[in-house]
Every structure is written in structure tokens, then in C-alpha cells.
């Protein structure tokens, strides 16, 4: 092989290494459900996470003075209390699939950004769903 090509490959490898060590790892945002969190709690502490699940009925509390939103996110088996700074994007309903971007702090989840899963084909899950089904539902309704 000619030195030119070897040089080219080295440059590409160096660029790849720079990316991987220089930020790709830290900027990976895991997408998990509450059950998956409880399986490996330490892994997800204090790093950005996207937590997906269904908003549990009767748990949504919105304080319009402090703009704090609290609710319980469930995947049918495990539940996690979520506190979200800022308003929900008004578009927030119980029993709805949501993805919250944020971090775990202690036992609750601090959300920065809340994405509601909406689509024409969206259907609210029935009772008794498994975490896998919830996860699939959330992934499929984009």
C-alpha cells in the first residue's frame, strides 16, 4: 500500500479517536424505562438520560406560580417520581406516553425537557402492560 493511503487511514482513525474520546462518550444520552433504571441504578446517576414511560393517572401536579410540574412516570411495573422545571408544553395528559430528558438526583428524576409522544396512530395503553410493551409503544410512536 502506498504511504498516501496509509496516511489517509491514519487521519481517519485519529479523527475517530478524537471524536470518541473527546465527547462522544459523555454526550451519549441513554434511553431507558423506569424498570431498566432500577436494574442498574448506579450506571444512570448524574448523567443525561431520556426516561420514557406512561404518565400515571391522577399524579400530575402543576404549580403555576413556581412553574413546577410533578408526576409519576410508570412503565406498568416500576414507577419514578419526576420533577420537571418549566411548564409542560401544555400538551400533557394523563396516561400518555412521554419521554423526559434530564438526570436522576436521588430518588427522583429532574427533567429539563419533556417530549410528548404524539402521532395519528397513538393509542393510550390499556391496563396491565409490561415494560417491554410500553417501551415498544413509545419507540414506535414518534
Amino acid at each position: 500500500m502506498k504511504p498516501k493511503y496509509i496516511l489517509g487511514i491514519l487521519v481517519i482513525l485519529a479523527a475517530l479517536a478524537y471524536m470518541i474520546f473527546g465527547g462522544l462518550g459523555q454526550n451519549l444520552v441513554y434511553f431507558i424505562t423506569p424498570s431498566e433504571y432500577f436494574q442498574q441504578q448506579s450506571r444512570y446517576q448524574n448523567r443525561p438520560v431520556r426516561l420514557g414511560g406512561i404518565v400515571k393517572a391522577g399524579t400530575v401536579r402543576y404549580n403555576k406560580e413556581t412553574l413546577e410540574l410533578r408526576f409519576i412516570l410508570s412503565d406498568g411495573v416500576s414507577e419514578i417520581p419526576v420533577e420537571s422545571k418549566g411548564t409542560p408544553p401544555a400538551l400533557f395528559k394523563e396516561k400518555q406516553g412521554v419521554v423526559v430528558e434530564g438526570r436522576f438526583q436521588g430518588q427522583s428524576f429532574q427533567g429539563d425537557n419533556l417530549l410528548v409522544k404524539h402521532s395519528e396512530s397513538y393509542q393510550a395503553p390499556k391496563e396491565g402492560w409490561t415494560p417491554d410493551q410500553v417501551r415498544k409503544l413509545i419507540e414506535e410512536t414518534k
Binding site: A15, L16, G23, S119
Partner: protein, 671 residues
């Protein structure tokens, strides 16, 4: 005759004509017979007519609310406004592919005008009978692919039995802003445009005539690049106006995927000039045009396969893998053809670092590396999932961190590149470089002293540096011409602007790019936001504004119910300059969605943009209340201006004129 019948029939006809056209190209190539080529030319016209009939049939079905067509039943509602009905063909998968395919038949037909069926090419940029069957054949192959996908996998005219009486309408995000009518069309016009240089390149590799294709397709490249730039700007603007987060670029996987062909095309645009002028970088040009073309399909694979989460994703289906298979085969065949002739396309001259071609090559390398970085970041979640099964996404900070240094290098090269002469540096150039360097340093330092952040100061310095570079070049050209011809400076400027449109146009585009980078730097660094719940009549002072909630009202519209907050705003400090006025942010509820969609109210000013969003509303014992969020972002307006300048510069280059300078013979060419 029903729309479904006409559509289904036309699709099959378009597929047949494309297959026949491809077959005729084969015969024309192997039999060396111009009559086959003549027939292939005619077939491209027939395929266009069939495609237009199919597209017309879809519009017909939408406009007459024909819910027996599945696409209409799933993505249309009889209550939508007329413009929404007209743009619904590209609101979902099948219609988008139909639009794409129709544009492809249009471009193939236009290419066929250039084909000469006998003898050597007459006229300018003609396609001779040796290359024409291959170039047309490549375009017919692409058409066959699209129409086969529609006929066999994603048929826009599948019937529903029994037909429903009403449909849900297109995705509300698409109905919320008229920009959605133009963004996809512009993108597809750009994507399809790259098929033409690609087809010429394949013909060049097979017939072993490596030089002329770049020159012959430069207009196509410019047109496609212009459309893609306009399309990306329209998409960013739509995101800003509709998604209600006050941003314009989120490094969403599909944004990234459509960024890749733009980056590669930009690299190709620049290396192709080196080949035109000096006959160098030929293997670069072949590789870049192949990659650009392949990248246009990559985006469709990502959006349609469901492998990646994105606001653009239309859901899973068999279409994604088929696109992946197609793009991989195209890449494999093309690079095989290139490897076959690699020893012949090798460059005969050398590229010096400090020369025009050196800077152009440097720019191309920069764009290619960024393409690679964005590609890796975009598909990294797939790699992680394959390795340990975890679902991850790559955050925007990674891309920002990677793109910022790239932007600095790009702006540096963009300034000096056009100042450097071809082949090798001359002494007087050193003086110009020193002037530019001084402008850069002074601009950056002055901005730092003024108190701006390092990134913003650098952006200001680089902006001034680029303006100075363009100023220097125009000034020198004008002086020389005025002196040698003894005419006034204004006259010389007008002459140059007409005779050297390509150079002037590129100056315009470059000023647009520098301005855009400045706007991005300021809007990223100095954005402020605040939010509060207000009762009617209540006043709130924050971020230099005095905000007063006047009213909260509900309006019933044909396709939606809107809640509108009427907000009165006055500026109380410099930050609130020009903010004065009434804002009406709204929440639109579309019956098909189970939650409302915010529609922000934005005031664009030359300084700050004032962006109001209605977040939440309700009523309690104190009365009606609304949670209002305000985002103040500087210089966003200039990003749209920059986009328009870039497109205008491209148009300026493309604008036909009788005074065009005679084409220069490519130096060192062995065509």
C-alpha cells in the same frame, strides 16, 4: 375514471417507460445505433408525462376528498384549507416518493435535450452518442427504482374498502406553517439535481473521458446546491416558527442526514473548480459526486426505516431497507468503476499548499471530515445498540463541540482562498494576507474588549476578515481594469460584475456564509429566556421587557381550535429595543391529536428576535391565567438574510447572460 385508477395506471406506465428507456440505452450503447438513443430520448418524455399524470391523480384525489384512496384516507381531511390539501402529497411517505420520482423524470427529460444522437456533439455541452446512453441509462435506472418502490412496496393509490367518510388530515406539525409547503420540494429539487452530475460521472468513468463532465454539469451542481441550501434554510425557519423552542437546528438525525449531501456537495463544488481550471483532483471529484448522490438516499433510509428516532420519522416499513440496498449497490458499482480506472484518473500535476487550488483542496478536506464526523455521530446510536443493546442518542453538545472548530477553519480558508492565485503564490499576495490577518486580529481583539465571549469575538473577527477579503479582491480587479482600459471605476465594476459572474456570485455566497456564521455565533451565545404565569391585566418585567397579558380568547377554525393569548409588550432597556407591540402566541388543538400544538408569536428585528410562546392556560378563583414564555435571541433575522444572500449569489452565477466570458481551456487537461 377515478383518481385511484388513473394514478395506479400512470405509475405502471411510468415504470414501464423507465424500463423501456433503460433497455433502449443498453441497445444504443452496445449496438452504437443512434436510433435507439433517439427512442430513449422520447421515452424520457413519456415517463415524465406518466409521472405527472400520477402526481396529478394524487392531487385530484386530495382536492375531491376521495377517501377510497388509502393515502388520502390516512393523511387528508376534507376540512383542511386549500393550501394544505395541495401540499399533502409530500406530507407522508408514499406521496413524498411520488414527488421525488416525478422530479427525477423531469430532470431526466431535461438532460435528454442535450443528447446528440449522431456524430460528434454539436453545440455547447452536448452529450455525444458515446456517453449519452450511459448517462441517460443511469437516470432511467434511478427512475426504475423509484417507480418499482411505489408499484410494489409503497403504493400511493392503494384502495380502502369501504372508504371512510372523513380522514385525520396530515400531521398537524405540517399544517401549522406554510413553510412546510416549500421546504420538502426544495430539498427534493436539490437531491434529484445531484443525479445528473452523478450520471455524467458514471459515463465519464465508463467511456474513460475524465475531464469534461465536471464542466458540463457545473450548472446542475450549482442548481442542486442552491435548492438544497434554500431547502435547509426553509427547514430551519420552519423549525424556528413551529416547534416552539426558539431554535433552528437541533442536530436531529434527519437534519444531520440531509446535511451530509449538502456538505459533500459543497466540497464537490470547490474541487470541481480545480479540475475545470487545472485538470487536477479528478479522483476527488468522482468520489465526491458518488458520495453526494449516495448521501441523498441515506437520508431516506434513515427516516423510513425506523432505525432512528426523529421528528421527521414516518414510521417503519420495508422502504428503508430497500433504500439501503439501493444506495449500497450504487456505491459499490460506482466505486468499482472508479477503481477500474484509478491509474488513469491519477493527477498529473501537483497542488501547492499556498495556492488557490491548495485552499480549495483544504476546504474540500474540511467538508469531508465534517461529513464523516456528523455521519459517525448520527449512526453512533446504532453502533451502541448493536454492541450492548442500549438505546442511546447523541446529544447536540457533541455536534456543537465538533462543528465550532470546523467553522473557524472554514471561515479562515474561505477568506484567503479566493485571494490566492492559481498555481503558486506571488509576492503581492503576502501583503494582502497580512492585511487580512490584521483585520482578523483587530476585529477579534476589539470584540473581546467590548465584552463579547471568545467564540462570538472570533466570529466577528472572521466576519470582518471575510468582508475585507472580498473588498480587497473586488477593489484590485476594478483598479486593474480601470487603469488598463482607461475607464471609470464604476464602469469597471459593472463590467466585471457582468463578465465574471461566477467569481462575483461566489463572493456574494461567501459573504452570506460569513454573515450566517456570525448570526449563529450571536444567537447561540446570547439567547435569554424567562417564563411566568400571568393573570389577565398582570404586568411582568423581565429580560428588558414589560409584558402585560391583555386577554385570552378561544377561536374556532375549520381544522382546529385555537387559544390565543394577547400580550402587550414594551421595552424597558436596550435589550427590549424594538420589542414594542402586541404578540399573539397561540395553542392550536387539532382534533386528530390528543394535545395542543403551540404556535409562537415572533417579532423579527434587526437586533433581537422576540419570541413568545403560550405554554399553558387555565382558570381559577382569581380569573383566567396563562403561562407565557419569552425568548430573546440576537441576530436570528440575519441567518435568514444570510440564507437569502447565499441563494441570490447562486442565482447570480446561474443567471444566463450574453456577455459571459469565453470558457477557458482547462490547463493540463487530457480529456
Amino acid at each position: 375514471m377515478t383518481p385511484g385508477l388513473l394514478g395506479g395506471f400512470s405509475l405502471v406506465a411510468a415504470l414501464l417507460f423507465s424500463v423501456i428507456g433503460l433497455g433502449l440505452c443498453f441497445f444504443a450503447y452496445f449496438q452504437r445505433d443512434g436510433r435507439y438513443l433517439e427512442a430513449a430520448k422520447r421515452t424520457s418524455g413519456l415517463a415524465l408525462l406518466a409521472a405527472l399524470a400520477a402526481f396529478g391523480a394524487l392531487e385530484w384525489a386530495l382536492l375531491t376528498d376521495d377517501f377510497s384512496v388509502q393515502y388520502v384516507a390516512l393523511h387528508h381531511s376534507s376540512t383542511s384549507p386549500l393550501w394544505v390539501k395541495l401540499v399533502t402529497p409530500w406530507a407522508a411517505l408514499e406521496g413524498s416518493i411520488l414527488l421525488w420520482a416525478t422530479l427525477q423524470t423531469l430532470y431526466t427529460w431535461i438532460v435528454s435535450w442535450r443528447v446528440h444522437t449522431r456524430g460528434l456533439p454539436g453545440g455547447k455541452n452536448g452529450l455525444d452518442p458515446y456517453r449519452a446512453p450511459i448517462a441517460l441509462g443511469v437516470l432511467f435506472t434511478v427512475q426504475v427504482f423509484f417507480f418499482a418502490v411505489m408499484v410494489f412496496l409503497a403504493h400511493p393509490f392503494n384502495a380502502v374498502i369501504p372508504p371512510p367518510t372523513e380522514g385525520p388530515g396530515p400531521n398537524p406539525l405540517l399544517q401549522n406553517h406554510w413553510m412546510m409547503a416549500v421546504h420538502p420540494v426544495l430539498m427534493y429539487l436539490g437531491f434529484v439535481g445531484f443525479s445528473v452530475p452523478f450520471a455524467y460521472a458514471v459515463a465519464a468513468m465508463i467511456t474513460r473521458r475524465y475531464q469534461s463532465w465536471v464542466h458540463e454539469t457545473r450548472w446542475w451542481t450549482m442548481i442542486a446546491w442552491g435548492f438544497l441550501t434554500a431547502g435547509k434554510m426553509a427547514g430551519a425557519w420552519w423549525s424556528y416558527e413551529v416547534l416552539g423552542w426558539g431554535g433552528y437546528w437541533a442536530w436531529d438525525p434527519v437534519e444531520n442526514a440531509s446535511f451530509l449531501p449538502w456538505l459533500l456537495a459543497t466540497a464537490f463544488l470547490h474541487t470541481s473548480m480545480v479540475q475545470e481550471r487545472r485538470g487536477l483532483l479528478r479522483s476527488w471529484n468522482f468520489s465526491l459526486v458518488i458520495l453526494t448522490f449516495v448521501a441523498t438516499f441515506f437520508m431516506t433510509f434513515l427516516t423510513r426505516s425506523g432505525v432512528i428516532q426523529s421528528v421527521h420519522a414516518f414510521g417503519e416499513g420495508p422502504v428503508g431497507p430497500v433504500f439501503l440496498a439501493f444506495l449500497l449497490s450504487v456505491a459499490f458499482v460506482s466505486f468499482y468503476l472508479l477503481s477500474r480506472v484509478s491509474s488513469e484518473v491519477k493527477d498529473v500535476g501537483e497542488v501547492r499548499l499556498l495556492s488557490r487550488e491548495g485552499a480549495l483542496l483544504g476546504g474540500a478536506i474540511l467538508f469531508t471530515v465534517l461529513t464523516f464526523v456528523v455521519l459517525v455521530g448520527t449512526v453512533w446510536p446504532l453502533v451502541v445498540e448493536a454492541l450492548n443493546g442500549a438505546k442511546v442518542s447523541v446529544g447536540a453538545p457533541f455536534f456543537n463541540q465538533m462543528a465550532a472548530p470546523f467553522g473557524v477553519f472554514m471561515l479562515l480558508l474561505m477568506g484567503i482562498g479566493p485571494v490566492l492565485p492559481w498555481r503558486q503564490s506571488k509576492p503581492q499576495v503576502i501583503r494582502n494576507l497580512l492585511i487580512l490577518l490584521a483585520v482578523l486580529l483587530i476585529g477579534t481583539l476589539a470584540s473581546l474588549i467590548w465584552g463579547w465571549t471568545l467564540g462570538v469575538s472570533l466570529a466577528v473577527g472572521l466576519f470582518l476578515y471575510n468582508l475585507a477579503a472580498v473588498g480587497l479582491m473586488v477593489d484590485q480587479g476594478v483598479r486593474e481594469r480601470a487603469r488598463s482600459l482607461g475607464i471609470s471605476a464604476a464602469r469597471a465594476l459593472a463590467d466585471l460584475a457582468v463578465t465574471n459572474k461566477r467569481r462575483f456570485g461566489s463572493h456574494i455566497v461567501h459573504v452570506g456564509v460569513a454573515l450566517g456564521c456570525l448570526a449563529i455565533a450571536f444567537s447561540q451565545a446570547y439567547r435569554v429566556e424567562a417564563q411566568k404565569t400571568l393573570y389577565i391585566g398582570e404586568t411582568w418585567k423581565k429580560v428588558g421587557l414589560e409584558v402585560r397579558l391583555l386577554d385570552l380568547r378561544q377561536v374556532q377554525e375549520p381544522n382546529r381550535i385555537a387559544t390565543i393569548a394577547v400580550v402587550d409588550v414594551r421595552g424597558t432597556s436596550r435589550q427590549g429595543l424594538w420589542a414594542e407591540g402586541q404578540y399573539r402566541p397561540r395553542l392550536n388543538v387539532y382534533p386528530v391529536m390528543n394535545q395542543p400544538l403551540p404556535s409562537p408569536s415572533v417579532k423579527y428585528t434587526l437586533g433581537n428576535d422576540y419570541y413568545f410562546i403560550l405554554q399553558q392556560f387555565g382558570q381559577d378563583e382569581r380569573g383566567l391565567w396563562a403561562t407565557v414564555r419569552v425568548i430573546v435571541t440576537p441576530l436570528v433575522l440575519w441567518l435568514w438574510v444570510a440564507g437569502m444572500i447565499m441563494v441570490l449569489g447562486t442565482l447570480y452565477i446561474l443567471w444566463p447572460s450574453g456577455l459571459r466570458a469565453p470558457a477557458k481551456a482547462p490547463g493540463g487537461a487530457t480529456a
